[in-house]
Amino acid sequence: MADTIDAPLRNTPLHALHLALGAKMVPFAGYAMPVNYPAGILKEHLHTREQAGLFDVSHMGQAMLSALPGIDIAAAFETLVPGAIAELKPGQMRYTTLLNAQGGILDDLMVTRPVHPEHQHQLFLVVNAGRKAEDFVHIETALAGKATLTRMEDRALLALQGPAAATVLARLVPEAASLGFMHGRRFRVDEVDLVIHRCGYTGEDGFEISVPANAAEAWAKRLLAEPEVAPIGLGARDSLRLEAGLCLYGHDIDETTTPVEANLLWSISKRRRETGGFPGSAILQAQIKDGPKRLRVGIRPDGRAPAREGTEILDLNGAVIGHVTSGTFSPTLNAPIAMGYVSASHATDGTQVNLMVRGKPLAAHITPMPFIPKRFHR
């Protein structure tokens, strides 16, 4: 997960708090980020599944896309993504992907239509930290003359995740607990403008809270003061999302993988499959019709050894049929889990495969994702 970039690392508005909490800081997407706190990844992971975890995700890119007069913002944005944006109701959020001309994924992102009647020419976007600079230029260039993009770099983003998240947030923002899953809106609390969405990246119920940078530490401390809440680092964020079967950009999806290959077909509505009109739509329509050559699948090693990113996946005859794109040890299952791409003929649940770990073939099988039951609020 950590990467090396020569440019100096940027700090999030919670940097001082991370240090005060004893976090181990690592470089990630150009930012100094907490990989874990003194409790460690395992305890942080389990705490999030049992109570509630607070994550600093301020490195992610927040932006407001605003249509110029006479332009339908949803129709304009649909030229860049295969998601059904036109059908989004005010306050509704959707997961979709920015695509290149080959249907490859430039990034995955969240898109929300604002609630306020006067803001129906806008879309609120949250994109990945490692891609935000490129994404924002791409969107501005592609929609030049139709829309303008405002980068919201003066805002932090906190994620509160876990079965106790709603109970905790209700104490501070009572109305937020009534948000439906994948819905969000503005809340004004103690003179602070919050944008709260009910969503997340852990498979649990939870919220992402956009807060002005200058109020971020105070809000993080208020949430951490609640007895159910512990600070959680990027290490557990990764193992939590992998248990939930969710993709990490640059690993499980990238410019060479399409949403169809990535098993994200659910994110493309019937209308958009039929009418297309997004980059690479002809390629994706053909993949949908004929079936993709490869598919992202879940993998359970039969033994105890984790299979990490890059591990070769072999069929029982020893032929390479794919690679692992994410692999870890699942704290919840107390067993290794992985995801990766295999040829479509080997993608059926239960298919026996071998994983080449340190030169030895280890037995494993293709398995449905998520690896644990999702507990999103419905």
Partner: protein, 125 residues
């Protein structure tokens, strides 16, 4: 009193006659975090100094354990396979990985004693 030596890769070896018991240092386990898997060497394997001899994995990543000296593997701590967390709890005692019959005791001369290793680790902070 048995003598303990350390490598720059954070293995320790405790000598008893011509047999060394090998593990990773307390500093190393702190850096790795929660250990969830270990892979131990086969008994009877002959290994060279610096060879990859065992593997330790945290939630995040796999790390190799290199042999501090050359020799033959005569024992492995199979209790770790069912309880890898022992490496976190007792890295320099119950969390040992394997025992090796030394082929060449003079290889120990290139290793650090406890005081030198302590200084070495302090220099990494």
């Amino acid at each position: 009193m048995t003598k303990i030596f350390y490598t720059q890769d954070h293995e320790w070896i405790r000598l008893d006659g011509d047999v060394g018991t090998v593990g990773i240092s307390n500093y190393a386990q702190e850096q790795l975090g929660d250990i969830v898997f270990v892979e131990l060497p086969q008994l009877g394997t002959k290994i060279g100094q610096g060879d990859e001899t065992a593997v330790v994995e945290s939630v995040k990543a796999a790390s190799e354990i290199y042999a501090p000296v050359s020799g033959e593997i005569i024992d492995a701590n199979t209790a770790l396979e069912g309880a890898p967390v022992t490496v976190n709890e007792a890295a320099e005692t119950d969390g040992w990985f394997f025992k090796i019959r030394l082929a060449n005791k003079s290889e120990l001369d290139g290793l650090m004693d406890a005081a030198a290793y302590k200084t070495f680790v302090e220099g990494l902070a």
